[in-house]
């Protein structure tokens, strides 16, 4: 089918808009780097404290060669993904149990609210004492940030499933188990995906907190160590790498979500 001239014009206009946004995003990034580099070189800012993009690049290379940067990245990544998956399993599991036993859910609700609003960084020192300064502690620390909110969000989502859809299952001769597996869980996949997208960032926060106080490896350890011995390029490099990790993990989950929406 041939498109009218106006349609063609509209399409071009939309495309131009899209390119402009992409271009400006990239431009802003390069401008930021350039200003940072120039300010550091001309002495406008103290490069000892603020470092500079070129210094960060050099530091990354030397960290990789001399300090095993990839081991630190690997450790942080492993701990984050482990806590993320455990939150998924326990979060969905707990929400299902609460859905199956609404009485229990009503009893537990205030405790969940309290645990969720508690600043989880306060728990980290306690976890170190209880579980020791090891990987388990850091994974639990990562979980602690995301788990309670996940349970509450998922349980709320499960209970908001249209009651008539459950009635339909019962009229077809189904039980509560059928209602769970045929309606509640498949109907909640979009919700679960959006909870996952929030969780990945939260788990990273919890893991870094854990590494701050009880680790010998990982980016959190690198950051705290660098600040103690005043190696600012180390510190800022680690933060930049964390930034990249966070973006990549979020991007992967976005891909998963898009794949699911397209499949439907």
């Amino acid at each position: 089918m041939r498109e009218s001239a106006l349609q063609e014009q509209y399409r071009q206009q939309q495309k131009r808009r899209k390119y402009r946004v992409h271009f400006l995003r990239l431009f802003l990034f390069i401008l930021f780097l350039a200003l940072w580099e120039i300010s550091a070189r001309t002495g406008l800012i103290d490069s000892f404290i603020f470092s500079s993009p070129s210094q960060i690049a050099e530091t990354c290379i030397s960290l990789t060669l001399e300090e095993g940067l990839f081991v630190h990245i690997g450790v942080t990544l492993y701990e984050t993904l482990a806590s993320f998956l455990l939150v998924l399993v326990f979060g969905v599991g707990a929400a299902v149990v609460l859905w199956l036993f609404p009485g229990a859910a009503r009893v537990c609700e205030p405790y969940l609210v309290i645990l969720n609003s508690l600043p989880k960084s306060a728990l980290a020192p306690l976890l170190i004492v209880w579980l020791g300064a090891n990987t388990t502690t850091i994974i639990v620390s990562g979980m602690s940030v995301a788990i309670f909110g996940s349970i509450m969000n998922l349980y709320t989502g499960f209970s908001e499933i249209d009651k008539d859809k459950l009635t339909l299952i019962y009229t077809l001769g189904g039980t509560k188990r059928h209602a769970l597996f045929k309606v509640v869980l498949p109907g909640s996949i979009p919700l679960i995906l959006s909870v996952l997208k929030v969780n990945i960032g939260l788990c990273l926060v919890g893991v870094i907190i854990g590494e701050f106080i009880g680790a010998r490896q990982g980016l959190g350890f690198l950051i705290i160590y660098a600040s103690q011995v005043f190696k600012m390029p180390w510190l800022i490099s680690s933060i930049v790498i964390l930034c990249v990790i966070a973006v990549i993990l979020y991007f992967l989950l976005n891909l998963l979500e898009r794949w699911y929406t397209r499949k439907r």
Partner: protein
């Protein structure tokens, strides 16, 4: 043959809330013969749907009895009932076909014969080209058809229709009611339709049971026999019958008797 398929005897039910007891049904008795199409009309909120919930076992019976083919209904012998709700509740995460066999899946009756019947029904009711489509790709009328097939696949002894057309716009509603009514009649299904729409009840039913406002009691039961001549009875032809209006007015008066 004299024995009715379904018989309700002196059903009463109250809802209990913290504010107090609300009587919903009071002394409801009626029976439905095999192959008959009965309609229950009443003011909105009078407890019409409650009757269907009691028959289907979704609600426990508080007072009174229900007999099916002469046998008393109990928790252990649930009826094979097809239930159509206001909305079609097709699941968007399943294809049309997967939605249709949902009941078979739940009852673990995915036998070759049953699946073949599902296929036959899909063909018969013109959904074969939408078999692998998502429900959102169907029109409102097609969706109700798919929902109907979902229950028909289970070969129910009794169809319960709980205002199944009220979520549709008026035009669609007329044609879907015609469609579903014709399908159920030609399949020889016994059905109970609950509605607040008098003309829908008259156009579809053999007998109209008129309820009072809450607590619902039976005001009257009106057998419908329209003079259609040689034209076969469908909801649409019924609407054009000369005595359609008479029945409409009769039921209207009964519904508004105490107002």
């Amino acid at each position: 043959m004299n024995q009715p398929l379904l018989e309700l005897q002196n059903l009463s039910l109250s809802y209990h809330t913290m504010e107090g007891e609300v009587a919903a049904l009071s002394d409801i008795s009626f029976s439905v013969r095999e192959g008959e199409f009965a309609a229950v009309v009443g003011p909105s909120g009078c407890g019409k749907s409650t009757i269907l919930n009691l028959i289907s076992g979704l609600l426990p019976i508080e007072k009174g009895e229900i007999f099916f083919r002469g046998e008393k209904l109990s928790k252990d012998s649930p009826l094979n009932i097809g239930y159509m709700l206001q909305k079609d509740h097709l699941f968007e995460w399943r294809t049309v076909y997967k939605n249709i066999i949902l009941g078979l899946e739940i009852r673990r009756q995915m036998t070759p014969e049953n699946l073949a019947r599902a296929d036959a029904l899909i063909d018969q009711y013109g959904l074969s080209s939408f078999r692998d489509a998502r429900p959102s790709q169907l029109s409102g009328g097609m969706r109700q058809r798919a929902a109907l097939i979902r229950t028909m696949v289970l070969d129910p002894d009794l169809m319960l229709l709980d205002e199944p057309f009220s979520a549709l716009d008026y035009q669609t509603r007329l044609s879907v009611a015609d469609d579903i009514g014709t399908i159920l009649r030609s399949a020889g299904k016994t059905a109970i339709l609950v509605t607040h729409d008098i003309s829908e009840a008259v156009s579809m039913a053999d007998r109209v049971i008129v309820l009072s406002s809450r607590p619902a009691r039976i005001r009257t039961i009106i057998p419908i026999s329209l003079s259609l001549g040689n034209t076969p009875r469908t909801p649409m032809t019924s609407r054009n019958a000369p005595d359609f209006k008479t029945y409409f007015n009769l039921i209207w008066k009964e519904l508004h008797a105490d107002a």
